[in-house]
Symmetry: C2
């Protein structure tokens, strides 16, 4: 298997109302089966999923947590507003967001945006992916998989990696159940989080800095069978249980 991975350059600073699929299609070409990774930041900017700090009134909880983390209480309030469950408050808020993803500060981002504004994650990132996928199909006639990515820290390991928070045109998990290893034994490890593996490498291509590559195209990934249960439920998640204990 051979895959070609291309950072899509030439994408301008995205503003609310911009037609993101059209802009991306002006800056690259697609073939059937390509996978497009897009940083959640530009999806949120195009859709206007941003907030002005001046418009946010912090709750008592936001002031209390702000006293711990030393962050702007309005920023904390935006995180609380974006969260369905707070797993940890300090030294940074770790919480679940509506799509099931667990992330630091609920993915609320105060970088790469002008003035006293913040970017919030799309509420339903997979719905955004389906919309972008349909738009690309309309523009190019090509069947392209779409992944929306965010960067996250990890347990046990330093540093951020790209993760998938939404996807369309593929399953999140490649499921090897029933497959056999090199010696014919049935595999014990049967679920591979392929959308996260693809998102991780797209983040390597994007970088975090001012190089402005918010979209990455993968050509040659092939297809797989699997399912979409990427996010653990509370009951399944041993680490989450330990942190809430």
């Amino acid at each position: 298997m051979s895959v070609h991975v291309t950072g899509i350059s030439g994408i301008p600073l995205i503003q609310k109302g911009d037609d993101l699929p059209a802009i991306i299609c002006r800056n690259t070409t697609f073939e059937d089966g390509d996978i497009l990774c897009i940083a959640s930041t530009i999806v949120s900017k195009a859709k206007g999923y941003t907030r002005a700090l001046a418009d946010i009134t912090p709750s008592p909880d936001a002031f209390r947590i702000s006293g711990l983390t030393k962050e702007d209480p309005r920023f904390i309030q935006a995180i609380l507003d974006s969260s369905t469950e707070i797993i940890q408050e300090y030294p940074f808020i770790l919480s679940e967001v509506p799509c099931g993803h667990v992330g630091v500060r609920a993915g609320v981002d105060n970088s790469n945006i002008e003035g006293e504004n913040i970017i919030i994650l799309p509420k339903d990132p997979s719905a955004e992916c389906r919309e972008i996928r349909a738009a690309i199909k309309k523009i190019t006639g090509k069947d392209v998989g779409v992944i929306v990515t965010d960067t996250c820290g990890r347990a046990f390991r330093r540093g951020q990696c790209g993760n998938a928070i939404g996807w369309a045109g593929m399953t999140a998990i490649r499921d090897f159940r029933g497959d056999h290893d090199l010696f014919g034994l049935e595999l014990e490890i049967t679920e591979e989080a392929v959308v996260d593996e693809i998102a991780a490498f797209s983040n390597f291509i994007m970088g975090e800095s001012d190089n402005g590559i918010p979209a990455v195209k993968f050509s040659g990934c092939g297809t797989w069978k699997g399912h979409d249960s990427l996010f653990f439920t509370k009951e399944e998640d041993l680490i989450r249980k330990a942190m809430k204990r």
Copy 2:
């Protein structure tokens, strides 16, 4: 940036004593700056980092944990022997290994090996990478980065992903400290675990199954500045603290 990622096919089943760098170089060509990801499994097989279950005498602790997990007590003993600290015993052992990596069952693997044998992780995976890197330089004259990978589960998310457990010819972390975002603000997220992002995508190319692609070549990744502190210390790791609480 454009990266070409190639699964190296034609690698035979690896046996103890095989010259892995020579075998890999017979099945692909390298250019300066390429990065080679290798599944830890074949590094361990080539070096004989395997054990026969028949040779292992379980300790009382291994019998006790075996009663919880319902796994072979000799397999449990091998995990205990490979671990420097046990973080969790049940429903599966999660432990730290000598290089600082935290993994399920200490990376001890009973798949993809013949008979009643198990594969254990290299004790110093980065030393293996340096050795393979030097051998490739000797064979091809080319300066190639090397990453040894293993698959691991994650907090909050279902499914396995590839991770780096050793590396040479690059730093593990790309450090953006001092860099600025698109609007000139100094970046808050400054450390990106690039070796894990590359390892993750190499695992997508390898698959977990019987397709037998244990090595992947990345061409065009460029260079970065950073450091090698990939593994959290016990004191830094909030999740580990919560699990040991």
